[in-house]
Amino acid sequence: MTKKRTGVFVCHCGTNIAATVDVSRLAKEMANEETVAFSKDYVYMCSDPGQNSVIDAIKENNLDSVVVTCCSPNLHEKTFRDNAIRAGISGFTCEIANIREQCAWVHKDRGEATAKAIKISRSAIRRVARNKSLDPIAVPVTRRVMVIGGGIAGIQASLDIANAGLEVILVEKLATIGGHMLQLSETFPTLDCSQCILSPKMVEVSRHPKIKLMTYSEVQEVTGAVGNFRVKVLQKPTFVDAEACKLCDECTVVCPVVVPNEHDLGLTSRRAIHIPFAQAIPASYTLDESACLGLNPIRCGKCKDVCEAGAINYDMRPQTVVEDVGAIVVATGFDLYPQEKILEYGAGNVEDVLDGLQFERLCSASGATKGHVLRPSDQKEPKEVVFIQCVGSRDPAQHCAYCSKICCMYTAKHARLYKHHVPDGKAYVFYIDIRSGGKGYEEFVQRAMEEDETMYLRGRVSKLHRTKDGKVRVAGTDTLTGQNIEIDADMVVLALAMQPSKGTEEIAKVLKIGRDKDGFLAEAHPKLKPVESVTGGIYLCGAAQGPKDIPETVSQASAAAAKVIGLLSSDTLHHAPTVARVRSSHCTGCEMCVTACPYKAIRLENGKAVVNEVLCEGCGSCSATCLRAAIEVRNVTPLQVHEMIEACLSV
C-alpha cells in the first residue's frame, strides 16, 4: 500500500474551538504525522473561502485524503465530503475529527483540551491513512409511500405525495380517517367549522386514484431500509363489505349491544355494529368484535338477518397485507393526558368536569347534544363555566414538564364558543401565562376577553369537588390580586396536556425510530431536520412529533411530503459503501457472522461468507464476532481501530 498524502485542516470555528484549543499548535504537530503532507488552520473552515482553500490545497499538494478537525460529523461531514469530491478525490477518504462538541466545549483547561484534540485528530489521521476510495452503491428504489395515521397530518401528507404522482398507502388504525380534527367543532383563530374544512379532504383521499386507503389496519413489521422497505400491515375484519353496504342503518336499529361512543368520547352511545360518524371514510359500518355478542348466528345474528344488501359477513378474518414502499411518513398523532391521573381535579370522577375534546363534542352540531351546550349530568344549560389551562402540562413534579402549546388558544376558543351558545353565561379561565404566538392568535385571545367578556384569572386551581346542590366548586387563587377564589360552577372544562397517542411506543419500535424524553417521536435535528427521523426514509409529521396546532401540523405534513417526493424523485438511491467485506482467504465458513447479522445480509456460498451489499447497513456486528478477522466493515476495519486506539493513548 502506498503511503497516503493526507491534508489536515484545523478549524477555529471563530473562537468556539480556538478559545480552548491551541489550534496553531495542533496544526503544527499534525504536520509531523507520517502520512500528513499538508496542514493548516483557518478561522471558519466550513465557509466558502475555507472550503475553497481545502480544494486548492488538495490540488496543489496532490493530496488523496483529508482530515478536517472541526465540529461534530453530524454537522459538516457531508459538507467536507462533498467538498473533497469537488476537488476530485473520493468523499470516503475525508474524515472529521470532532474537537468542538467532544473537546473544546466540554473542557476549560487549555493544555488538557489541546492534548485531547491532538489525540482525536491523530486518531482520525491514522484512520484515514487506511481509508479506501469508495463509490456509493446504487440501489433501485420503490416509488411508493406508506403514510401511517389518517388524521389531518396523514391526510395532508398523502394528498401532497399522491398529487406529485407517487402511489400512497394510507394506513389508519381506526375504522375511519379524520383523526382528532374531526371531533372538533370550530377551529381557532377563524372559528371556521372543522368538519367543513376536513371532510372535503377526506373525500379527496378516498377518490384519489393514487391513494390506497387501509382503515382498521395496523403496521406490524417493517424490514428493509430507505428506498426499499417491506411493511406488513394487519387488516382487522370489519365484518361488513364496504362495497355492498348501502348505509341504510337498519343494522344499528336491531343491534342489542350498547357501548359508549368513542367519537363522542363517551358522551353518547353506539351499537356494536356502527358507523363512527356520518361522514366516515370509507362510508361503511364496522362490527366491533369486542362488543358483539359473538359473531355467531346462533347467539344473535340480528344485523345479518336485517341486512338486505347482504353486506355482513361473520366469516371475515384478519388479513396480513405486505406492501413494498420506498419511504414512510409517520403521523400517529396525540391523545389527551388521562384525566384519571389528575387526582386534585377528581381523577375523572367528578360529574360535569369535561376534557377539551368532550367540550368540542358538546359544541359540535353533529355531537352529543346537537350543538347545544348542555351539561352531561342533567342536560341543563350551564350558566357558569370554569376553564382550567395547563392541566397536566408545565408540571414537571407530577405530570408533563412541557407546554402543550395549543391549550391557551383552544381554551380561548372554548370560552368564546360557550359565550356564543350561552350569551348570558359566565366564563372563567384559570391560566398560568397566555401563550398566543401565531398569526391572528393574540387578537383572538383579546377578543375572548373583551368582546366575549371572559374572565381571565391568573393562577392555578388547587382542587375541585361536587357540592350538594349539584355544582362543581372550584378553589383557586388569583395571583394578580393575591386573593383566594371559589367559584361554584355548573361545568368545568380541563385543558389537558397532549401526549403521544397510544401505540406510539410500539410503532417507534417497529420502525426503529427514536422517541424523545416525553415519548414523542424524535426528529433527526431539532432545527435543520425537523421532519426526518434518525432512520433514513422515515419522516415524521403532526402531533406525534410534538404538541402542535392544525396550521403547524399541515405545514409539517407538507414538509414531510416534500422530503419524500425529493427522496423518490429518481429511480436509484445511493447507499453508503461502508459495508462489510469478506476476506475470503481468511474465512472458514463458521457462520458466526451469518447469525450475528441483524439484516440477514450474509450467506454462505461454497463454504465462504458472502455479503449482500444492498442489505448490509454497515453495523459491524459481523466483524466483532469473527474470530479470524475475515470480515470487516470498509473504512472501519479492525486494523484501523487498533491504530486509532494507539493514537488515543499517545502522549
Binding site: 466540554v106 473542557h107 485531547k116 419500535k509 424524535a522 466483532a624 486506539i645 488515543c648
Partner: protein, 143 residues
C-alpha cells in the same frame, strides 16, 4: 506534586455513533464540563466493538476502557447492543480472570438525548479509576 496527584487515568471511549456519540455532542452543545481523560472513538454500533479492541486498548496503555451504546431495545441496528452486552460481559470476566481489575472496563447506555448522562458517566469512571492507579498488567513493555 506527589505521584498520586499527577496520575490521570487514560481512558479510551468507544461510542456508538447513533446514540452515545450524539449524546456526547449534546453535552458539548450544552457546555456540560467533564474531565478530559476519555478520548472518544466513534464506532458504527456498540455491537461492532470486538473484545480485541478492549484488550488492545489495555495493551497500549489504557487505564480504563468505556463502551457506550444505545439503551437496550433502542439499537439503531435492532440488536447490536444485545450482542455487545453479551460479548463484553465475558470480557469483564476475562479481565478478572487474568488479574486486571474488572472496574477498569465499563459499559454504559447513553442515548442521543442524554448529554448530561454522558458527562456523568465519564466523571464517575475517572473517579472510580483513580484509586486503582495506573494499569500495568496488560501494558506492553516497550523499550
Amino acid at each position: 506534586m506527589s505521584e498520586q496527584q499527577a496520575y490521570e487515568p487514560k481512558i479510551v471511549a468507544f461510542l456508538c455513533k447513533w446514540c452515545s456519540s450524539a449524546g456526547s455532542d449534546l453535552a458539548g452543545v450544552s457546555r456540560i464540563q467533564y474531565p478530559a481523560n476519555a478520548t472518544p472513538i466513534t464506532v458504527p454500533c456498540s455491537g461492532s466493538v470486538s473484545p480485541m479492541y478492549i484488550l488492545s486498548a489495555f495493551k497500549k496503555g489504557a487505564d480504563g476502557v468505556l463502551v457506550s451504546g444505545c439503551h437496550i431495545g433502542d439499537c439503531h441496528y435492532m440488536e447490536g447492543n444485545f450482542l455487545a452486552r453479551r460479548k463484553l460481559h465475558l470480557v469483564k470476566e476475562l479481565l478478572g480472570f487474568i488479574g486486571v481489575e474488572e472496574n477498569r472496563f465499563r459499559m454504559s447506555w447513553v442515548s442521543a438525548a442524554e448529554g448530561g448522562k454522558y458527562a456523568q458517566v465519564v466523571k464517575d469512571f475517572v473517579e472510580d479509576l483513580r484509586p486503582l492507579g495506573p494499569q500495568e498488567k496488560l501494558k506492553a513493555q516497550r523499550t
